[in-house]
Structures are given as structure tokens and as C-alpha cells.
Subunit: 395 residues, 2 copies
Amino acid sequence: MKFASRMECLKDKALLNAMELTETADMISFSAGFPSPETYPVEQIKESFIQVLDHEGKEALSYCSTSGYGKLREIIAGRMRDKFGLDYGIDEVVITSGSQQALDMSSMLFINKGDVVLFETPSYLGAVNALRAYEAELVALPTDREGLVMDSLKQALKQYGDRVKLIYVIPDFQNPTGRSWSQERRKEFIKFISSYDIPVIEDAAYSELSFEEKLEKPLSYYDKKGQVVYVGTFSKTFCPGLRVAWLCARANLMESYLLLKNAADLSSSAIAQRQMAHYLTHNDLDAHIRWITGLYKQRRDRMMEVIEREFPKEAHYVVPGGGLFIWLELPENKDSRELLRRALAEKVAFIPGGSFYPSGIKNNELRLNFSNMSLEDIDKGMTILGRLTREYLAE
Amino acid sequence: MKFASRMECLKDKALLNAMELTETADMISFSAGFPSPETYPVEQIKESFIQVLDHEGKEALSYCSTSGYGKLREIIAGRMRDKFGLDYGIDEVVITSGSQQALDMSSMLFINKGDVVLFETPSYLGAVNALRAYEAELVALPTDREGLVMDSLKQALKQYGDRVKLIYVIPDFQNPTGRSWSQERRKEFIKFISSYDIPVIEDAAYSELSFEEKLEKPLSYYDKKGQVVYVGTFSKTFCPGLRVAWLCARANLMESYLLLKNAADLSSSAIAQRQMAHYLTHNDLDAHIRWITGLYKQRRDRMMEVIEREFPKEAHYVVPGGGLFIWLELPENKDSRELLRRALAEKVAFIPGGSFYPSGIKNNELRLNFSNMSLEDIDKGMTILGRLTREYLAE
């Protein structure tokens, strides 16, 4: 049987494999990309399911409207307003099955075969996969410690012109680098891009996981044109198993997103959405987030300590101000896949950096998750990894 | 901003509207396409959620593997074997977010822009929407009381040749006609199509909702080549709010389906899948299905009675042996949209037949759902509709 040509673009199974890596029981794994399961508020979630099934069981087990449960969309719009100053109305929010679906729908909305998509590099492989499935030409733009390198953006727009149909970025505590765009860079980016008619997908998966009081304003906050599509999720602040995320877009785009959501899966789970709305109404998610970011900050600090102590000076990194990851850079002639091979033999895992470049061209970096391991395991695993790195770099 | 060309194909909002029609409170609506919410086993579902969260809370709130929860896939494979004689192994089953997602993934796997898809007509609009989103050329084949008309299939394959990339059918209690393919036609279809290398999507959404003891064997049962992809769901036998469905395909296709599932939404909800597995382990879904089909059969019978008594002889129909729908055919010069206009004025709703033809070319039919209304409302609503039909046909 003959497959669609898109399947040629989807041969890379790196993400599937990355997920499987974390599943071995006796492994100290720094490869996870999700919050620590010990933080899931299981009892409160159970209570919400009970209340929803007791009082709105029939509605919770029926189809939901395509845009999603109204009350949940209202709560989300309110949270976005309070936390980030965003002014999306309830009809500018659609619930999606994880933020992956929001990325899939965005690719579907904007991408014809051969269109160019600009994105930060390194970047989240799941988004890259969603874009690949629509046969986009992926053009990677470099980042520095302030965010997307503006000169490279300008250069790409000059080079590819009208072929550029979408820009994908993660401005906060980015996956995989853990870095955030500076306020200055955000303003500069929006000011520049507003003279183009190109939609920007702002993936805000990690935005609420800040280790400091103050949250940076999203790109969407500075956007006066309705050009930015904002994607948020409860997968990183709450739990991923419910698959509840959201996409915010202005009315001119939202109508098309709803047609695509309808074609993709009719609607997201009514019961998951109602459970989420009930939890948010009767619990303080912000207090929960303060608790988990406190915990993750401890783990980040411990990881930094061990890196300082055990790793050679040639391994570079930036201390992340939030999120789940530390990004470690080895000298350019070294290959983190080789380091991984040695680490796995000693029951330590991480994700080699090449997995975050669609071209796989750069292999001297590694992504280390600090949120999911106990302080003890961080000590133990990172000490092993430090020794292996020293040995490898000395060769 | 510029949209992908697919959006030109997705302008029809008929399905969105059809769903909204059912939502008015004082309406007697025969427009539903879902099981009757009074049948949802709310208490047992609640018990399953409690047990799952008490004993496997962390796993249930984490990401699931892309293929889905292993135990659920095993139970599904077992049920398909016991009920329909299908021999899919656990690795030949992937859990999808509703069967709509299985149709979306199938379109994605097989359809390039301009490829031809053959499908029964009238047919399920949701599938048509999924196919439209990939810019397929939709070629409608007529059906008779035995199923797909084989001569039209042969003719279409002759006419379109290699451009035909997919065939989509609903052999059991079809949406919208309620009709089923005869065993003879199933065998004839598989025998003929096996000499082509074209995948067949068998949508089995209604297959278990039979009013008789014996279930017809699926197309997939006769397929020795691995050409048929079987799509099943719990949305019609259990409840749609969990969004748990499945797709069965042989290994050569399954690998590609998993890549697409991963790109679409990483994985389906872990907690919904574990709840479903728990329910299936501790309850008798087949007994539940016997109970709801008994209820639906009563309602079908009552609807047939009122149609016999109140409708003019020029309104033709076939008594459905299962499923949710009766399909009523008016004389060719009549328009069911006009009938709907008059019915809505008297607070009675149904779906006009044109909504089930992608071209909208035929407008003298109507789909009547009998599963969701009480006997009393069936009496009342169908008596009104009978009178309106008599008046309209007399004009």
C-alpha cells in the first residue's frame, strides 16, 4: 500500500525512543520531559472526579462542544489575564488534547507542502515532528542567551521571503535549553515581526514554572496585531495524564482552528475538562505551582552544585531560572551520544542534544532534567556523569 | 495571514451545526448521533476512577505510551476475537482519542493532495471532514440494501486507477442509513478488492449495537492480506466523554500509525484508558450492551409504529437491525430542509439527509435518531413530524 509523501518526513523515531528510555526501573534518568509524578495532587483530583460524576455525570460522559467546556475556558482566560496580562476572551480559547495537538493543528492551518517554518534551535522535537508531518521545510535559527538571534531572523526572512508561513518559539524556560528570552528581545522581536504577516506560535508550556516571583510577559502580551497564537498546558504545572491544554487565538484565526479541531477528534474529553474546572474552582493551583517550583528549584540547585564540583570546566551551561532542564555543552569535538552510551552502562540516562536539532547536526550537547529525581539520585547520578565526562573529555 | 490550501476544503460547518441543534432544552430532537446519556453507567465509572486513582494514581496521571495502555489493548484484542473472530495481537491495536482521530490519522497516512478516496454515500460527515482536511478528491459510491454497489466500485477503480488511495466504509448499522452489508456482499467486496493494493478503513462504530443475537463478521475477518484497517470505539456502546477508541492494523501499517499518533497528540489520556481497563475487568460490558440494545430496540419499534401510522406511504425506509438511526426517503422532488424548517417551528429536530452527501446533491432524505428519546417523546415528536410530512407531500 502506498503511503502519503509526508511519511518520508516522519522516519525519525528519536522522540519515541527518548520516552522509552525513562521507563527502566533501576535507571537514574535525567531524560524526562515531564513534572515529577510525586507532585501530582492525586487525592484532590480524585475528589474532583467524584464530585463531577456525582453532580454532572451525564454531561461529563457526553461529547463536549468542539471549543471545549465553557467554564474551563473562562477560568483559563482569567488565569492568563491575572498571571500574564493577556486579554483573551472565552471565545478566543480552545481546549486541545495536550499542547502537542495545538501544534499539530497550527501546522495543519498554516502549512502547505514545502512551506518554510522558522524555529529556534535547539528546540522541542515534538513540535518539529508535528511540522514535519505537514512537509514543512524547517529552517533553524540560532539562539543566544537573550533569545532568538534577531539578525538570523532578518536574514531568513530576506532569504525565504513569502515562503515563510510560520514561526515557532518557546520564549520561557525553553525545552531543551532551559533559557528564557529577555524582555528586550521579546519587544524587539514583536516590533520587527509585526511588519510581516506571518503567524507566530508561542509555546508557553514552561512559562509558569518560574523560580522567581516575577513572570516575564509573553510575546502575546506585546502583540497588538493578533499575530501570536499562544499555547498553554496543564501538563507541566499539574499533570500530563489528563491531556488538557489550550490554544488562544483571535477570532479571525479561531474559526479555522475550530474546524480543524472538529476534523481532528471532534472535541476533547468532557470529563477531563470538567474535572480540571472543578479542581481549579476548589483548589489553589498557584499554591500548588509555588510548591512544585520550590521543589524543582532545590533540585536545580543540587544539580548545579554537583556540576560545579564534578564536571570539567570545559562543560558550559546557563543556570536556568525555571522549567525542567539544564543544557550542558561539551567541547565541539565531543559527542554526547558516546557519553550516553557510557552512562547507560552505569545506569544513568539523559537525552543527547542532537535530538533537538532536526538536522541532528550538532552532537556535543546534552539535556538534563532536574525535576524528576530525588536529591540523593541527583547526587549519585550526576557524580557518575561528572566522572564519565571528565574521563571522556580527557581522551 | 495565509492559510494552508486545505482550509478551502473545510468550509462546510454542517457537522458543527448538527451538534448544536441537539442542545436546545425544550426540543424533541431526533438529530443526535450518540447513545442515550441515561444509559451511561455513571456509578461504575466513578468506582473505576476511584480505584485507579487509589492504586495507580501516578501512572494514571502521567503520559501514556504512544500505542496506549497495554492492558486495555489486550482486553480490546480479546473482545474483538471473542465477538467477531478477529485475530489482532496487542501490538496491532493503538488507542485513539475517539474514532474521529483514527480517521484523521488514516487520512494523514494515505492521502496526498488530490488523491481519490472512495466511500459509500450517504456517509458519516465526520469522516468526510477528516478526508477533506487532507485535500482528498472524494468519490461517492452508491449503496443498496446489501451494501456498497459493487459495479460502481469496479467502475470507479477503472476510471480513477492508481489515483485511488483509500476506501472508507461503515458495514454495520451505517450512519446515517442504519443499514448493514449482507454477508454475501462483504465476501464479494473483499474477494474483489484483494486484487488491488488499496487500504480499506472499516469504521465499526455501531457494530456491537445489534438488535439480534448474531453479529455479522467484519470485513476485516475476511481480509487475509492485512488490507483492512479496523476502527472501533466505546463512544456508542459505553459513553463518548472519555474519548477512548481504537484502531487495529497489521504491523506493516502500525509502525506508521504510531509515528502519526505521536505527532498528533503524543498519546491518549492515561487515566481515561486505565479507567476503561478497570471497568472492563470488573464489569460486564456485554451485559450493558445487551441492556442498551434492548432499550434502543423498543424505541426503534415505537418509532416504526408511529411512522407506519402517521407518515404517508411515499416516505420510504428500511427497518434497521441495530444502531441508532432510521433513514427516511421522501419523493425526489421534496426537500427535507424545508421539512426541517417547519419541524423546528414546532420544536422537533432531525438531520436533513443532504448533510451526509459531501456534494450536498441529494436533499429528499432525513436521518432520525431513535436511541435518545423516551417512548413518549417519540410518540409526540414523530406524530408531529408525520403530520408535517403528510401536509408537505400533499402540496
